[in-house]
Amino acid sequence: MAQNTTVILDQAGINRALTRIAHEILERNKGVRDVVLVGIRTGGDDLAAVLRERIADIEGEKIPLGILDITLYRDDLSARSDRVVGKTKIPFPLDDKHVVLIDDVLYTGRTIRAAMDSLMDLGRPSSIQLAVLVDRGHRELPIRPDFVGRNVPTSREEDIRVHFDEDNRPVEVILAKK
């Protein structure tokens, strides 16, 4: 069946959104002291790498970057065997850090719940903050992002897709009607 798609963020729009989020993270945390970024695989990890560059451009310091795969923490065991479980790579202690968790699209909130459970098993951060490129609504858990690139009210019959180029940099965000 044919799909109707709309570009809701182009590359320039994404860049503006990420630059704003970078400033907001620095503002909220009064700099980069004890701040670490953790991107949720897949999508959030690539966005986290871009955000790290953006923060380095502004603040002149590269903050630690980790990657989290939450597959093993999902609450729906039956929903996971098509993709190989990815590796979690957080090569620094999380204790007493301000962790900025990064994902591309926030939907039901179950991924973020799983990510927070996973982070708690890996250490005891001072705080966990959440940054997302797109918040599409339909939360099933009481989770609210701290930094949002764009709020996009959607129906459940629509999909939000973030496209990345071959260098894993975000190029556009698409709203697709099923």
């Binding site: 923490y73 065991l77 039956s78 996971r80 991924t111 098993d121």
Partner: protein, 311 residues
């Protein structure tokens, strides 16, 4: 790609893609085993019964640790403590266990095909932890994972498997797996320990061990199962060690960076000299470590289902 097998009964039933998928999954699970908190909630609420009708320490322990690290409840039942000693049949034992609603039975049995027999009759998933002289799939998977980690790929590698091929379920599973993944498998051992027609599985048979290990990328030594064949297939252990044991001298025939493997436990001085077993080319302890990751992957994947879309 998806893993759609309810059971893991043997490598023979797994495609190249299936094997690759299990190895990739196991590779990711390795990270969990290095954390301070070595546990994820993935199989919370699931019950795994390790049903071992044959003595085993490392495989049973490995499965038990794997289950616990995935937060499953694991229960061990061994033959000496089960009703088998009271005359109960395998099917009755299994039906009684099934009435306790396990999600997975991990089974070792001296009879080839015993796990298949149960898989046809019970609703839960069955993982074969060794059946007679037939297959030992998770051992072959951990062997392949270990080789892949050290060599990058299995494709095109020359793997020599030396020893008692006839009685070795490890050898049979390794032959299926390695040939399917594109490796060349060479076999050598005393004539009494090479089953007729084994070439049909795609392996080459050599009478002389030195020919088999010449230029090999991996030398896999099998354990002489003293408790099984007694003296009927071997004149003396000393003679076996002389002609089919791996020592620093004949190891030089293999590729300079060849891996030395052994499914354990090692009969030191028989199939492997201590110098080689503890040497720089030995990856025997890597095999043990990878065993936990592979068994975590196996337990995880047999309970798989359809992909969801909740983000």
């Amino acid at each position: 790609m998806a893993f759609r097998h309810k059971h893991i009964l043997g490598i023979e039933q797994l495609s190249k893609e299936d094997i690759g998928f299990i190895l990739d999954t196991a590779d990711s699970f390795k990270e969990i085993n290095t954390r301070d908190i070595k546990k994820v909630p993935t199989l919370r609420g699931k019950t795994i019964i390790n049903l071992f009708f044959e003595a085993s320490t490392r495989t049973r322990t490995s499965f038990e640790i794997a289950g616990k690290r995935l937060s499953a409840d694991t229960i061990n039942i061994t033959a000496s403590s089960s009703s088998v000693v009271k005359g109960e049949t395998l099917e009755d034992t299994a039906r009684n266990i099934e009435a306790m609603h396990p999600d997975i039975i991990v089974m070792r049995h001296s009879a080839s095909g015993a796990p298949h027999y149960l898989a046809d009759r019970l609703d839960c998933s069955i993982i074969n932890a060794g059946d007679g002289a037939h297959e030992h799939p998770t051992q072959a998977l951990l062997d392949m994972l270990t080789i892949r980690q050290h060599k990058g790929s299995l494709e095109g590698l020359k793997v020599a498997i030396i020893g008692d091929i006839t009685h070795s379920r490890v050898a049979r599973s390794d032959i299926y797996g390695l040939t399917r993944m594109g490796a060349e498998v060479r076999l050598a051992g005393p004539g009494t320990m090479i089953p007729p027609g084994i070439e049909r599985l795609g392996a080459k048979v050599y009478a002389d061990m030195r020919e088999a290990i010449k230029g090999a990328d991996v030398v896999m030594m099998l354990r002489i199962q003293l408790e099984r064949q007694g003296k009927t297939l071997l004149p003396t252990l000393r003679e076996y060690a002389k002609f089919y044991g791996l020592n620093p001298r004949n190891l030089t025939l293999a590729a300079p960076d060849a891996l030395v493997m052994h499914p354990g436990p090692v009969n030191r001085g028989v199939e492997l000299s201590s110098y080689v077993a503890d040497g720089g080319q030995s990856v025997i302890l890597d095999q043990v470590e990878n065993g936990v990751a592979v068994r975590m992957a196996a337990l995880y994947l047999v309970l798989g289902g359809e992909q969801g879309d909740n983000a």
